[in-house]
Symmetry: C2
Subunit: 251 residues, 2 copies
């Protein structure tokens, strides 16, 4: 778990609220440790690896910020860091994992979503919707996770650039997986629409509970929230979310 | 409708995102031309009233910012503006209306909520939940309204002070009214909890559709959104939102 400068700690993070995930805190400079085509590494490989790794992460943060998640390529990030693309793959695997590391996310959202959707992790009697909500609530109970999540939310709300980057990442890493678990629906309803509905309720809960701190939601236990909101998510994922043809309203 | 400098226009407002609603733009007040106990005023009455009104609004913005919505009093605001409290009441009526004017809200949220909850404004076949959502969606379709709403959201997300002020205002002016329309529920469920759940979904939709701009929600017509989300709001307001005793999870 990488530390998150300026946010950690329990409760609501204060900090600048914008910078943390998208750029610019006291991070080792992008170029620090950049060694271009030197071929003559002398000092210990570990030190070198760590410097190279940091250079890649710094280049990734800049590229993701400048080009968005979709537009940034491993190849471009590698070039900026002065390393071979294969080395980036070697260190971080996929672009998704590189993003998670570059943004210093304390958990990988896609792993969280996978856990939330896994049928075998579910207690008997829990619907998928309830289980999904409980998984998210448990994650938010971890101060680092909540602080990072709210930091990203702040970035998105205050910067179109950050909003675009996060939208692209969330669409690929989170919504795509949720959509995969959704039902095409009785009338061919778009699974991506279902996933976006789930996101709207989950994000709204975070906003209302942790940012606005609406008292009834702050006071509510996770069991009450799961009972109230779980069926909403279940219906968005699996239920009939269209009006019957007779009652169809304006499109 | 008063103009909102720095935000208006279709699509996503850019602007500073924070200052607009909580700070400072020049708007000719609705009460321009109101006259009060004048008798001896010689020079243009209009000018005098308008100056007083602006002084009250400026004092109100400062007081609401410093003390929050609950903590700010008409008496204190009047004292800061150097006028009698009765004059503030005369100009603005209630503290709620003074807040709406001071924040330059293009519509009074409490009137919007009243319209959303009014049984006679509802098309036949529409549930209360659908009607509520459609009313909100129609309001957000007005660029000024959406821009102001998103400006307030940005303020709340980036400033704890603004979040507290808006929470207090929303609790009194919006959630209280929604709670009044909610059902106490089969097992005495807190109506305020119901109203807060409604707020979480409505706010989350705004966040996902207008800030993150998740494509399936941007593309969805209001009819589709009402069909998908209306029943959620209906259930939060009126339905059974608790687990049965047998299945009760951890509190």
């Amino acid at each position: 778990m990488s530390g998150l400068a300026g946010t950690g700690g329990a409760g609501r993070p204060v900090g600048d609220g914008v910078g943390a995930p998208v750029g610019a805190t006291g991070v080792t400079g992008p170029a620090e440790g950049r060694r271009r085509g030197r071929g003559s590494r002398r000092s210990g490989r570990r030190g070198g690896d760590s410097g190279t790794r940091e250079a890649i992460l710094a280049a990734a943060r800049t590229r993701f910020g400048d080009y968005g998640y979709d537009g940034a390529t491993i190849r471009g990030i590698a070039a900026d860091a002065g390393v071979d693309a294969a080395l980036v793959h070697h260190f971080f695997g996929t672009k998704e994992r590189l993003f998670v590391a570059a943004m210093r996310l304390p958990i990988d959202p896609s792993e969280l979503v996978a856990a939330a959707l896994a049928p075998d992790g579910r207690e008997p009697g829990r619907s998928l919707g309830e289980h999904l909500l409980l998984t998210v609530l448990r994650a938010w109970d971890v101060p680092d996770v909540r602080a990072t999540f709210l930091g990203l939310l702040r970035s998105a709300v205050t910067s179109e650039q950050a909003a675009g980057m996060l939208r692209e990442f969330a669409t690929e890493a989170i919504l795509g997986r949720i959509a995969g678990a959704a039902t095409p629906g009785p009338s061919g309803t778009d699974q991506r629409f279902r996933a976006a509905l789930v996101a709207s309720q989950v994000l709204g809960l975070a906003l209302a509970r942790y940012v606005l701190e609406l008292d009834p939601l702050v006071q509510a236990g996770t069991g009450d929230l799961a009972a109230a909101i779980g069926p909403t998510l279940e219906r968005y994922l699996m239920g009939d979310i269209r009006r019957g043809p007779a009652a169809a309203g304006p499109g």
